[in-house]
């Protein structure tokens, strides 16, 4: 333990604690800006400087370790004085257009301003170049608003391993982004949006799709259908000041009805469908591996629900694409079904349908633009993707008092789902959902484990693995008797690269891998409410499991509506219709 004094208060902290953390643990707040606990601690903004007795200069408290006998002042005349000047310098290179900024009232620079209380601007130097890069369907970069905190750089490099967002040039000309002439839309950007999630100001934002949605809602000739992803209901509430981890499924459905959507469907329905398709695909690959090796089945099979991950794979491992499941992501499946099955059933012209997906994700905005996601008649499976944040804005904009809404419900027939679908929203969920079905199909018995959970696959660890020994399978799967099935789960693209390297080197021991592009999975996707940290991830994750455990039916193959869909329309998993509507192909892309 280390003894130190902060603001005349004698404290004891563990060795290795930063001054900032030491202060925080003892309820002393040091104004800060670029700092993100355990993620981004580089001391670049200098807002959190403090006076350490005996020091020649002030110290950035977020990166300076507390040492024995240290005497710190966080609020001395000098500290408060320079903090004001630094904040003023930041503002001098920031457009003061707060009222027209999307981050208005949800901006960390504004929050800091509230603390620091600056009432005059003394320094009126130059402004950074305002380059607005709107080339990407997912993310917009506005360099005039960038205050160079570099959180996006850390996330893009250290967490995601994509390495696209970086500082370029020197001195005041420094800017953060892809290299000088490179546009986001033409780069290796995976559209994961983790940079958007950590941007404290309005420099990185999702590309707005709400205007298109409003337009469709006002168009009387259109049937406007909305679907919501599993993770949205576990986070949307935060926008309306609910505690993180509050499920707002019913209120969300009610709000969507009030916004004027003709049908409110649940992407979870398609998550169950995904399990049927993906599980069957996995079983087919495994079966071939044991009984028909000449068909050269590719294992491990990797999940394909996360479009950020897919694009990363296409750029980084173009030779390994055969490992990807050919399943479209759930909302694309539901879109395709809406414009075929549902249109047929309700006798609506698919061309007059407008399908909106509410997603925790920015990469889904890119996904719907892929050429594979248009049907034979040239109609898009999904017409617009809005993020959880954008839905929040629409609800506010429409004057809906979210908190006082009565609980609503999803519409049938594409609204019913099982607990297996709920857990798609968190890392490990797709794998667990798949195993609940696959294990039962193979053995005729329920998946072992406490309350159907595979404990090693839950939680926020980067790479999680599990193995499952198959004993006494049903006769048709007798070749699996005694086989140990090995699975791995990762979220965040750095972990993905680690698992892919193993595959590339031929050392991967796994049969089935779940990969989600964002750390923690969709609960902390690039389109979710800010802030996101491990504490909030955990709360959202628990909410997702609560939703699962609250369901009567918790296995995808027991979803009656899904079964009905097969008998009514699709035939069998991996059948002809499925292939046409629910499966896709991938594209080799360049590495840079």
């Amino acid at each position: 333990m280390i003894n130190l004094t902060i603001n005349n208060k004698k404290l004891q902290v563990e060795e290795g604690t930063s001054i900032f953390e030491a202060a925080k643990q003892n309820n002393i707040l040091i104004p800060h800006f670029c700092y993100m606990e355990n993620v981004h601690q580089i001391g670049s903004c200098r807002i959190c400087v403090v006076e350490v007795e005996g020091g020649k200069t002030l110290m950035a408290s977020c990166v300076t370790p507390a040492t024995e006998g240290m005497v710190v002042h966080t609020n001395s005349e000098r500290v408060r004085d320079v903090r004001k000047v630094i904040f003023e310098l930041m503002l001098s290179d920031h457009p003061k257009e707060c009222l027209s900024c999307w981050r208005n009232q949800n901006c960390e620079l504004q929050e800091l301003g509230n603390l620091i209380q600056l009432h005059e601007f003394r320094y009126e130097g130059a402004k950074s170049k305002d380059v607005i890069d709107g080339s990407s369907p997912s993310i917009v970069r506005d360099s005039s608003k960038c205050i160079l905190c570099r959180r996006c750089v850390t996330v893009c490099n250290e967490i995601q391993g994509v390495g696209l967002m970086n500082p370029h040039h020197r001195g005041f000309s420094t800017f953060i982004g892809p290299s000088e002439d490179e546009l986001l839309g033409e780069s290796v950007c995976t559209n994961c949006g983790q940079c958007v999630l950590v941007c404290p100001v309005g420099a990185l934002k999702e590309k707005d799709s709400t205007a298109a949605v409003w337009e469709a809602l006002y168009d009387k000739s259109k049937t406007v259908i909305v679907q919501t992803a599993p993770a949205v209901r576990a986070a949307l509430g935060e926008i309306f000041l609910y505690e993180p981890g509050t499920l707002v499924t019913g209120k969300m459905a009610a709000a969507l009805h009030q916004l004027g959507f003709n049908y409110v469907f649940d992407t979870n329905f398609a998550a169950d469908l995904t399990i049927m398709e993906e599980g069957s695909e996995f079983l087919e690959r495994v079966k071939n591996a044991f009984t028909a090796p000449d068909k050269k089945p590719v294992l491990p099979m990797i999940t394909s629900c996360s479009p950020g991950w897919i694009k990363f794979m296409e750029h980084r491992y173009p030779d390994q694409l055969a490992h990807l499941s050919s399943c479209k992501s759930p909302h694309m499946m539901l879109g395709a079904l809406t414009k075929s099955y549902f249109a047929e059933k309700m006798n609506i012209d698919p061309a007059k349908m407008f399908v909106v997906s509410v997603m925790p994700c920015t990469a889904k905005k890119f996904e719907i633009t892929r050429p594979e996601m248009f049907n034979q008649n040239g109609l898009a499976d999904v017409d617009a993707v809005i993020t959880t944040r954008e839905l929040g804005r629409m609800i506010k904009d429409a004057g809906i008092d979210f908190r006082s809404l009565e609980e609503g419900e999803f519409d049938s027939p594409l609204g019913l789902s099982t607990g297996a679908a709920d857990i798609f929203g968190t890392t490990g969920g797709v794998m667990e959902a798949a195993l609940r079905t696959v294990y039962e199909l193979v053995t005729g018995r329920e998946l072992p484990g406490v309350r159907l959970h595979i404990q090693p696959l839950t939680g926020l660890n980067r790479i999680k693995t599990a193995s499952l020994k198959i004993e006494n399978p049903l006769p048709e799967y007798s070749f699996l008797n005694g086989v140990t099935v090995r699975v791995a789960v990762t979220s965040g693209l750095k972990g993905a690269a680690e698992l892919l390297e193993e595959i590339k080197n031929g050392t991967s021991p796994y049969h089935f891998i779940e990969i989600m592009g964002c750390p923690g999975g969709c609960i902390s996707g690039g389109g979710q409410p800010r802030p996101v940290n491990d504490a909030i991830r955990t709360l959202r994750l628990k909410a997702i499991y609560r939703e699962d455990e609250g369901k009567m039916v918790r296995k995808s193959h027991e979803n009656e509506d899904v079964m009905l869909l097969y008998t009514d329309f699709l035939g069998a998993p991996l059948g002809h219709k499925s292939h046409e509507l629910l499966h896709t192909v991938y594209t080799q892309r360049s590495k840079n």
């Binding site: 990166v63 500082p167 420094t174």
Partner: protein, 394 residues
């Protein structure tokens, strides 16, 4: 004037290096502790400008348990007005190489690097020859030490030791947070001794003649001699080895053109001393003599009355705005604000009191910038603005 103020020319650094093999062999035969104590008792301080005690630096790195360690010679001589390291590396490279190897012996490292300023590319062929000769001899005496040259790419900030490591590791040249310091976490995260070219040359002198000879030169807190790069309005620009502790008065007597208005000590990141303060200013590290005492990397720029101090400052700020790495707010935004600020005052767009606001800004930079670059902008800015305020306005 007390005698310590007198200007004394000495000749150690550029004295021939023909005995290098003997000095290397003798030093390698001495225990690490003895060599460290020799350096400590010489009171040699780093000659790059920051003045950290060299013996202590070696000692701290020697004490690290780590198996892999590095010796790095900082030859990224980028301070405006400094050109001494180039001369050392072309005239007495073997002294530098010898000291690097002795340092390797002391801290138990077998790998040395010379980080050579991008603009000194032309030094490479000759330097490589010397390295070859040196390494051959090391093999001959069975001492395992090799030296590589790492070419910089022309960024001033990479002279800052941690930015230099980043650059060598193939990253963007930006300073790291300290602590940890290089002695525990340097190049590739390993304990590293990084010394300026001249510092290494002085350690050679100390190993050749003993600490006493070095210590006897100079004054309290500032022992030994130092190379000065003399430029500007002087009839005899060049490199001179002088004892530390001299007064600026004596210096100007020797090197001035009779009309010296001010001397910039320590390059753009140093201080400008106006004529009225020459007498009370001594060149050394710290500790007040009778007047102020200035540390210096050895750049001495003389300005006569034909020079506009506004232009001088404008020039420095242009330099800093360009060379700031762009990482921390005070330096990135501050340098540009200072430059724009003095221009606005000069053009009459801002009143003279704006200079005081800018001085307050430099104070913030001095206290909060992440590295020495941003911290030292205040030096030239405040010393020029305070002493030549009228030139900034009219």
């Amino acid at each position: 004037m007390p005698s310590i103020y007198q200007l004394k020319r000495v000749d150690f650094i550029f004295k021939d290096e023909k005995d290098w093999k003997e000095i290397l062999k003798n030093s390698l035969n001495r225990p690490a502790n003895e060599l460290i104590n020799e350096l400590i008792s010489s009171e040699l301080k780093g000659r790059g400008g920051a003045g950290f005690p060299t013996g202590l630096k070696w000692k701290l790195t020697a004490e690290e348990e780590e198996h892999t360690k590095y010796v790095i010679c900082n030859a990224d001589e980028g301070e405006p007005g400094t050109f001494k390291d180039r001369e050392i590396l072309s005239k007495v490279p073997l002294k530098v190489l010898t000291s690097m190897a002795v340092c390797g012996h002391v801290i138990r490292s077998n790998m040395g690097y010379i980080y050579l300023r991008g603009e000194y590319f032309f030094l490479q062929p000759e330097l490589k020859k010397s390295i070859k000769e040196f390494e051959d001899y090391c093999r001959e005496i069975n001492f395992d030490f090799s030296i590589r040259i790492f070419m910089g790419s022309g960024a001033y900030i990479c002279g800052e030791e941690t930015a230099l490591f980043e650059s060598m590791e193939g990253k963007r040249g930006e300073p790291r947070n300290k602590p940890p310091f290089p002695s525990t976490y340097g190049y590739m995260g390993k304990p590293t001794v990084i010394n300026n070219v001249e510092t290494l040359a002085h350690t050679y002198t100390i190993f050749e003649y003993g600490a006493k000879r070095f210590y006897d030169l100079g004054v309290q807190y500032s022992r030994g001699s130092k190379l000065f790069s003399v430029s500007g309005d002087t009839p005899k620009p060049g490199i001179y080895e002088l004892e530390l502790g001299m007064s600026l008065d004596d210096f100007v007597d020797e090197f001035g053109d009779g009309d010296t208005k001010a001397v910039q000590v320590g390059g753009a990141s140093g201080f400008l001393v106006p004529r009225k303060r020459f007498g009370e200013t001594a060149i050394g590290f710290q500790g007040k003599l009778t007047g102020i005492s200035l540390p210096t990397g050895g750049s001495m720029m003389l300005f006569n009355s034909s020079r506009s101090m506004y232009n001088v400052l404008d020039n420095y700020l242009e330099f800093f705005r360009e060379e700031s790495c762009g990482q921390c707010t005070p330096c990135r935004v501050g340098c540009q604000q200072l430059l724009n600020g003095i221009k606005a005052v000069k053009r009459g767009e801002k009143n003279a009191q704006y200079l005081d606001k800018l001085l307050r800004l430099t104070e913030t930079m001095q206290y909060t910038a992440k590295c020495g670059l941003g911290q030292s902008v205040a030096n030239s800015f405040s010393s020029i603005v305070e002493n030549f305020r009228e030139e900034m306005i009219y």
